[in-house]
Structure formats: C-alpha cells, structure tokens
Symmetry: C2
Subunit: 436 residues, 2 copies
Amino acid sequence: MTEPLRIALAGLGTVGAGVIRLIQTNGELVTRRAGRPIIITAVSARDRAKDRKVDLAPYEWQDDMTAMAHRDDVDVVVELVGGSDGPALTLARAAIASGKALVTANKAMIAHHGLELAGMAEQGGVALKFEAAVAGGIPVVKGLREGAAANAIERLYGILNGTCNYILSTMEDTGADFADVLKEAQAMGFAEADPTFDIDGIDAGHKLAIMASLAFGTVLDFQNVEATGIRRILAADIEQAESLGYVIRLLGMASVEPGGSDGPARLFQRVHPYLVPRDHPLAHVDGATNAVVAEGDFSGRLLFQGAGAGDGPTASAVVADLIDIARGDTGAPFSIPVDLLDAVQPAQTGHRIGKAYLRFTVADRPGVLAELAAAMRDAGVSIESLIQKGPGSDGPVLVAMVTHEGEEACVTRALELLAGSPSLAAPPLVMHILRQ
Amino acid sequence: MTEPLRIALAGLGTVGAGVIRLIQTNGELVTRRAGRPIIITAVSARDRAKDRKVDLAPYEWQDDMTAMAHRDDVDVVVELVGGSDGPALTLARAAIASGKALVTANKAMIAHHGLELAGMAEQGGVALKFEAAVAGGIPVVKGLREGAAANAIERLYGILNGTCNYILSTMEDTGADFADVLKEAQAMGFAEADPTFDIDGIDAGHKLAIMASLAFGTVLDFQNVEATGIRRILAADIEQAESLGYVIRLLGMASVEPGGSDGPARLFQRVHPYLVPRDHPLAHVDGATNAVVAEGDFSGRLLFQGAGAGDGPTASAVVADLIDIARGDTGAPFSIPVDLLDAVQPAQTGHRIGKAYLRFTVADRPGVLAELAAAMRDAGVSIESLIQKGPGSDGPVLVAMVTHEGEEACVTRALELLAGSPSLAAPPLVMHILRQ
C-alpha cells in the first residue's frame, strides 16, 4: 500500500459530518478504489462543543481553520464551510497557494471565484475539485468535464434545485398554492427558513454557471445568469399547464452562440420556470431530485439524475473527488485551462425563438379579452391556445395562453403594450416552453 | 502544445467511421480538452475498397491489423473490430503487450477477457478503457469507476439493450405482438438480421457483467449471468402489466451478498424481463434508449440515461476514453486492481424475496383455475391479484397473476407441481417485479 492521502476538513455541518461518516463506514472500500488510504488528519469548525453524531476523537481539532492550509501533514484541504467569500475563500486561497489540493462543495464560491482558484491551482499544479458543488451526489461535473468531453454541447439544462422541484411537484400532486407548500417544506426541513437563494433561482444559477463553463469551454459568468424563481406560480398555472400537456419545472438552461468576426461567443444562461412536455424525461423528475441534460453533437441526449442535496449524496461526491486526487488526477478544474476558455458576452435573448406560456390576471368585465388579443396581434405574437378561467368564489379571472413559436422580443413588446392597463389586476406571468 | 496522442484505429464499421468523423469535426475542441492533439496515424479494416463516407486519405492504411500494435508512431490502439475472440483479441493482447494503451467498444471481448487484458495493462502501466462497451454514449463506466466510487453499491440495474427496449415500448404503444414488432425493427435497422444476442439477453449480459465488476469490486463473471430474453412476451402480458400499474422492460440486475466465514461473496446477476412500477424512472425510458441505475449507500439512487448504441454516441465514448488517456489516466481499468477484486460465487436465487408475475396459457375448461390455485397454495405462493382473460376469437385462455412478496423457490416449486399438467396449453411465463 502506498502513502495515504491526508486531508484536513474545514466545516462540520451536515455535509462535513457526512464525509466523516462515509470515510469511517466505507474506509476499506475507499482505500481499494483510491489505491491508497484516505485519512483525515485535522478537522475544524466554529463550535467545538456541538454534538455532530460522529466520532471526532481520531482527528486533531484545529481552532484556526486557515492554519490547516499550512500543515505539513496535509495533502488536501476539504472546504465545507460555505459562503461565496469570507473564511471559505480565505481558506481556499491559502490552501492552493501553499500547494495543497482543494476539494469543495461550495457552489457560491466556485460560481464567484472558481476561475481565480482554478488559475491558481493550474499554476501550482494541484487539483481543485468541486463535484459536490453541482447537483449533490450526481457525478455531473465529471460527466461534463470528462464523460461528454468529445462533444460540442448544443444545450445544457436541468432541474438544479431540489427545494423548488419539491415545491412544484407537491403543488402538482396536491393542488395547493405556492405559499402553503413552501411553509410545509420549511416545516419538514426541505426548505430553508430564508428560502430566497432557492426559490428565486440563485442557487440554480450558481450551478448552471459552473456547468456552462464546463460544457461550453467558456469563461464562467455567473453575473449574467438571468434568474427568475417560482414565487409567482399559482396552482392555476400548474392546472392550465397540465391541461395543455405540460408540467412546470424550474430549469437552468444554457447554450452558446459561436462568436465570429463581429465579436466573441455569446453565452445564454437562464434560470426560469419552464413548461416541460409530458413526454420529456424531465417531466417525470419529482420531489427533491436533480437532473441534468447535456445534448452533445455526437452523444445525443445524456441525462444524469439523482439526489441533488443531503449529507449522504454530497459526501459521496466529495469523497469521489478525493479518490480522483488519490489516483493522480490534477487536470484542469474546468476541463480546459483557464487561459484557454473562450471569452463570452451574454446572449441577447430578444431574438430567441420559442413558445411561451402567458398568464394574465384580469378584471371580470367586457372587452378585456379583446384588449389582450389586440396587444398580441399588434406585437406579432401568434396564439396557439387560450384558456379563460373563473372567476372562482372570489378569485380574479385568469387568462392563460400558449403562443406559437416566435421571437421572445414579441412577447416582451406585447406586455409593454399592456403595461399599466386597468384591465390587468396583477402583473402578467411569462414562462417559456421547453423545446423537445 | 505538448506531444500529440497518436492512435491507430482498427475496424472501420459504423463506429470506426464515427470516431473518424468525430475527430475530424471536433478536433480543435478535443485538443483543448485533452490538452494535446489526438491524431490518427494508421487505420486498418478488412476491406479497403469499401466507401465509408469519411475521408481516410490523411491516414496510413495498414493491411495487417496486428502490426499496428508494434508501430513506434502509435500510443493507443483503438479496437473496433468486434467479436469476443479472433482478430480483436489478438490485436488487444499484442497492443497491450507492446506497451500501447488500448481503447475498445467491444463488450463481448471485455466480458470474456476483460480481466486478463486489465491484468496485462496494469502490469505494463498502460491504460485499458472500454466506456463504449457499456451503454454506448452514456458515461456509465466512468460513473461507476469514479463518480460513485465512494459508495458501497446496493443494487445495480438498468435497461441495457436498446433493441429490446425499442421492441417492448413499441409493443406497448401499438398493442402488436413480439414477432411483428421484431420484423419491423429489423426492416428499420433497429434489430440485427440474427437478433439472438439482443433479444435473448446476451448483449445485456455482457454489459451487466462488466458493470457489476466495476460497481461491486468483484471478479468479472459473465458465465454466471442468468439470462432470459423477451421472445415469449405477449401483447397480452403488456396489457395485463399495464392494468396492474407496470410496464415491462428487459433489465439487467445485479447485487452482491457479502461473503463470510462460510465462503466468498455471492454475486447475483440476472437479465430478465421485469415488471417496472409506473412511478419508477425506468418506466419512462422508451425506444432504443439505455438507462443505468446505481443505488449507493451514500449517493442514493443515481440514474444515467442516453443513447445506448449508434455511431455518434459510441464514438463519443471512444473519444472520451482517448481524452482521459491524453490527460494521463492510466488507473486500474476495473477501478480496483485485478488482483484485489473480490472472488465471488454465483448467488443462489431460490431464497431471494420478491413479487412475481406469472402468466399461464390454459385450456378453456372447468377446474383449471382451481388446479392453478391449488398448486400455488401447496407451494406456499400467496396471490395478490389475478386476471383471467379470454378466450379471444380463437386464442387460448390466459391467466395472469401477481404474487405477494415471497421466495423465488416457492414459485419454482409451484411450476414444478404444474409441470406436465394437461391443463396448460403452453409453458408458463414468469417475470419478476422490480422493487422500488
């Protein structure tokens, strides 16, 4: 047996405790697969006294987290502290700078500082790995970085937030409204007390930006992810979608428009609730599951699905990274060296072609439908189907429509024509429809 | 740019031509991801004159395939000849023996000789890679060897044969019988003129045996895969299954019973038509698609899905292997060095617990149902539901039943009790039911 791979573990929340439990449970198996033992040398967290239901006695406790980066008896620092900046980033920079490999589950940090850290790691010839930062236990970073590496990826999309998917599929099953399901999800621990990052699409945006860089070989660009969450989706939207043959899923979607003489490539990145056709594999992904689709020019459609969060799945991904490092993988973290990634500008979405779902909450009086229809006509939006519903006991009237294929700009223009109209009782909701 | 990775390509069927097309199309992208160019030095096939719709002019033609293993200007031999033995195996052995890496899409050769070749490769410190041998373009060898490497895998199963899945899902959609759909599939090129390998489960067995070794760290054991195909499935079976909430899919299924003081571990490997519950992800996998599920103790259920065959997807997997090699991956082909794989005995299936579907084709006369029910009772089989159907215009009477959970041995005993009974117009059909 060769030299062990020695790790220092920073952050002992549920994921940190999960990693320790995994190494204690599957240690022998991990050793066989890694070709050498993976041992924990030191651990660090804010509160030493907290009971974490794992035996920390075998490991040295280190109060000063960042000092772990400088220990001679450590080969890899595992950062499970969280937060895009602050102590996590300080530790990550220190670890790589002092020649340690870094493994992290921190999607916010990678989305914001991944390229800087990758550049440092490439410079230093050490590994930087973040499988656990994207879609929990699903090996999708590996799938894109290596498995699909021979392909030009045409579209990359998926269900990237388990909380939102749990909420949407529960709304679908029960007919309940968003606010009630969110409350229930919070009570059950499926949603945070402050759910903003999840339900407004920011968490999914982090993952999408990381994957887009891997898939397209483009500079990671989280700032230009266009994110809309699921707060405004009504039970009635889900019902209308269902009657039209769709389910609603919050998707991250990315593609690239190649550059040319007129400038660099344009990267399209959007997190948005989509109407997904019932016969698409993603329509059957329910509960707190994640699923990623990469459509390659040679591979065709690849689907990776599994648990997107939780201590076990995330620990599985962290330790897979450690096994890779033990086996000698120190390749470019983003598949292509940072210096060679393509520069991108954000795509202009107005000329994108697609179908859309529009829902209007309108006053119950004559002429409203004519006003909507006229705005659509004047903006060049062609309507494929339309349902008017209500009013219910005291609810407003809803008008839901699906457009024919057309430019997104036309839909935007139609909404501008209607802006401020007294006929609208609430701002309209637009959702895109996933092309098969 | 560093030294190119130089490959020699043996076999220029659809997959071989696909690999050339991929390298010609995506060459620049492959170079960026691999960190160096991947160039084809020499090609070889039986018939030089054949038009393969790709430009072979840039490559040296070599009539003697095996001589490619000895060229000084070749780093990797890509074997796309096919066949478990013969020229493919001769070439593979020669390549590895002379210090070349080997990449192959040949599932039969790996299922039969994979461990021998892996042992040679480990000895010589060269790579042996076979992503394309299992499930076409889906990176499932990588998923098991690396992505799920931190897990003890509890069950491994999936849809491993696109031809069978095409036939079964078409039977489902059209209500047509097996023979008619097979004929149509042959006409459309979805099934071979001699479909035995596919429809009798041998091809799926090859893939299952390879994956089981990767997933469980056990010695590859194709000989003991218990394989049943789909020839005997009737449109009526699909109809009955549907009314009970299931679809029928040919699955490969494997798990391991740990060894103890009384002997080595026992490996369960079965290819069999299963009834899959409608709410299981595999129930929605239609057409010529493959899908593999690995259930890890930490990761939970991981699903990998995509095109299981075809020149594009297979080429995608072959070139992903080449990129891995270019990046320096020379690790153990089966994740664990061959010498350290666990020895196994085949599992005894009689004590396995599960539900089963049984279909009897019976004579239309009084007392037959009583005879069936008595046999079930006497063998200790408890019936959950039963449907008797027919006779149709001139068809026989069908009795389909689903058992409660019970030992497989009891079902076997029941069938033994009924063997030779004049009430049975045809041998009964047994299918297992996939546990969620």
